[in-house]
């Protein structure tokens, strides 16, 4: 029997029961829609978070004090680790492929201008900070390359802090107090907006060494090393280890590459996408049960037809194929309708809530349709087998 005849006969019986078929198709469509919609949102969030993370480039290596265990907790309780110092950061500059090294200390402090004051986040950073994280200076300059151990008391404002403290006034050259100490404003940054929930505009940048003093710390919080795109990451990491081990006498620091961070993040986000997909699958299961029951009824109702096909010399496999085709066609149409609804719904959602990122990868679309077809096969196989196993004489007598 030709494939097109299987399709023709199966569709003719679907068309003869339009209402019933539409309801069955709707069941599958809702299931596929739920899966597509939820995975689109999951995948959208996934991509959004990853792009937030990689906007600084993916060739950044972070170094933190303390040796992290596999669970990421510091074993600083032994109290024998040496602080990560500005000299350590300076020593890393000679590693091949290195573009910039940023030493970083962060804390909160009161910033006072002539008229206004504001509590804000203070970053103690080295002069290559804007270059390393591709931030733009709006007016004035960033912190100059002073002697890292004795930098001058200069400060650079984040754009929000600038407008909070100075409004439309030019802040350049203004004297301010940060945590009680006197600084001179030499620049202000372009607005950057939120990155992963951190407001990079409501900040102020001062030299690392001064931040250490202000917060009364002897160790940096982090050193970030940016290397040339495409350089061998392993080699750079080895260099960092060798230099810091030589300086500290032991490995009392933790190196985190961007790639490691992305891997961890990626696997967490995969779990997210997978769980929402599983949630959608529940409604898909309901759709499958719909196909199963409708096909069971169809086989029951069309018992004389099965008998007739037997009398006309149909093989059991052909009868099986006919009923299976029906189930699969129902599921496939439902799948397509679900894809249209799901993708359309995702786009609509994105229009209504622009902040919610959605993304529907083609592989998911194909996978969803394949799942629908397989679902049709699985749900249809039992009723179809029942039809194929019927005794034609009994089937003909049943009218």
């Amino acid at each position: 029997m030709l494939t097109r005849d299987f399709i023709h006969l199966a569709s003719s019986s679907i068309l003869s029961q339009r209402l019933r078929a539409s309801l069955t198709i709707l069941g599958i469509a809702i299931g596929i829609m739920a899966v597509v919609l939820l995975t689109s949102i999951g995948e959208g969030i996934h991509r959004f978070v990853l792009s937030e993370f990689t906007q600084f480039g993916s060739s950044i290596i972070g170094i933190n004090p303390g040796k992290a265990t596999t669970h990421g907790t510091s074993v600083g309780i032994f109290g024998t680790e040496r602080p990560l110092t500005i000299d350590d950061a300076e020593a890393l500059r000679r590693i091949p492929y290195t573009l910039s090294v940023v030493s970083l200390v962060q804390g909160n402090a009161e910033v006072e201008a002539d008229k206004r004051q504001r509590r804000t986040t203070v970053y103690g950073v080295s002069p290559d900070f804007p270059a390393a994280f591709s931030l733009e200076v709006g007016i004035g300059k960033f912190l100059p390359k002073d002697n890292p151990q004795a930098p001058r008391a200069f400060a650079v404002l984040g754009s929000k802090l600038r407008s909070e403290l100075f409004g439309s006034e030019n802040p350049l050259g203004k004297k301010i107090r940060i945590g009680g100490a006197r600084y001179r404003v030499i620049g202000s940054m372009e607005s950057k907006g939120q990155v992963l929930g951190f407001d990079l505009d409501d900040t102020i940048y001062i030299p690392t060494n001064r931040a250490l003093e202000m917060f009364n710390r002897d160790s940096l919080m982090e050193i970030d090393l940016v290397y040339e795109e495409g350089a061998p990451e392993k080699e750079v990491v080895e260099h960092i280890k060798r230099i810091l081990q030589a300086r500290h006498g032991r490995e009392d620091f933790t190196i985190t590459t961007q790639q490691q961070m992305l891997d961890v993040l990626g696997s967490v986000l995969n779990v997210l996408t997978f769980s929402v997909a599983a949630l959608g699958s529940i409604s898909l299961l309901v759709g499958g049960v719909g196909i199963f029951s409708i096909m069971t009824i169809a086989v029951q109702e069309r018992t004389p037809e099965v008998g007739l096909l037997g009398a006309l010399g149909a093989q059991r496999k052909q009868i099986l194929g006919l009923f299976l085709s029906e189930a699969v066609i129902l599921a496939a149409i439902g799948g397509l309708a679900g894809l249209v609804l799901g993708i359309g719904g995702a786009q609509l959602l994105h229009l209504l809530i622009p902040a919610l990122p959605v993304h529907t990868p083609w592989s998911y679309v194909l996978l969803a349709e394949a799942i629908a077809v397989i679902l049709g096969l699985v749900a249809g196989v039992m009723p179809a087998m029942r039809a194929a196993r019927m005794d034609p004489v009994e089937a003909l007598r049943s009218e």
């Binding site: 029997m1 030709l2 006969l9 003719s12 037997g310 010399g313 093989q315």
Partner: protein
């Protein structure tokens, strides 16, 4: 062509055994025209189903063209049914959702014959049944007589050697019943072996050989000796 020897068919109903066919012996030659009559429950349909390979005997042998067909697999039996045997039923058994022509094409679809050839053959046969203008009608748009003619077209489209009709006029008025019988007799004249089960004595006597069944047994098998005006051609 057909040789039945010592055929029994029993059905188990609860713990009772129903002897639907009891020691049937029957030979049918190619091109014969047979009627089977008898009271309800005497085993006529059971015999017909057995002849059409829809059912297997409990015991006995059935030789079709000198081949024992009771030992054939389901697959081979289905193939034999498709190519050698045609069925016509009391309730027509047309698929309601297909047009007349599609119903006629059904056996050819099962046989994997290409659409062009199918449509050509179906058109020819439907023309011969006087249904050229009803080709694209569905069964519910046809009269009983027309439906039965579509069913006959379907049963003969594969050019079978045997046509088995189980009360083909049982659901028709006498006029269209007679039309249907005449069409079947025409086919028989062209060499088709025709076996009709009927309750109607007027139709029964038209056959050249009458079989009477009671309680699963053939109690009478009579061949007309009256000179025929038209001789059936042996195929």
């Amino acid at each position: 062509m057909i040789q039945l020897k010592g055929i029994h068919r029993t059905f188990q109903v609860g713990d009772q055994e129903v002897h639907a066919l009891n020691e049937i012996n029957l030979n049918v030659s190619p091109g014969e025209y047979l009627s089977i009559m008898g009271p309800s429950g005497s085993g006529k349909s059971t015999l017909l189903n057995l002849l059409g390979l829809l059912d297997r005997p409990t015991s006995g042998t059935y030789l079709l063209n000198n081949q024992d067909v009771t030992v054939l697999s389901d697959f081979e039996q289905a193939k034999t049914r498709r190519n050698k045997i045609g069925f016509v039923f009391q309730f027509f058994q047309l698929l309601p959702r297909l047009t007349a022509q599609e119903n006629v094409e059904l056996p050819m679809m099962l046989d994997g014959i290409a659409p062009n050839e199918r449509s050509q053959r179906a058109t020819e046969v439907l023309d011969a049944m006087g249904l050229s203008d009803r080709r694209h009608h569905r069964p519910d748009q046809l009269s009983g007589g027309q439906r039965q003619r579509v069913a006959i077209a379907r049963a003969t489209i594969m050019e079978p050697a045997i046509l088995l009709a189980d009360e083909p006029t049982g659901n028709l008025d006498s006029k269209s019943g007679l039309d249907v019988i005449k069409i079947l007799e025409q086919l028989n004249n062209k060499g088709l072996t025709l076996i009709i089960v009927t309750h109607d004595p007027e139709i029964g006597v038209r056959a050249k050989r009458h079989i009477h069944m009671i309680d699963g047994k053939i109690v009478e098998s009579r061949t007309d000796t009256i000179a025929e005006t038209k001789d059936s051609l042996p195929s």
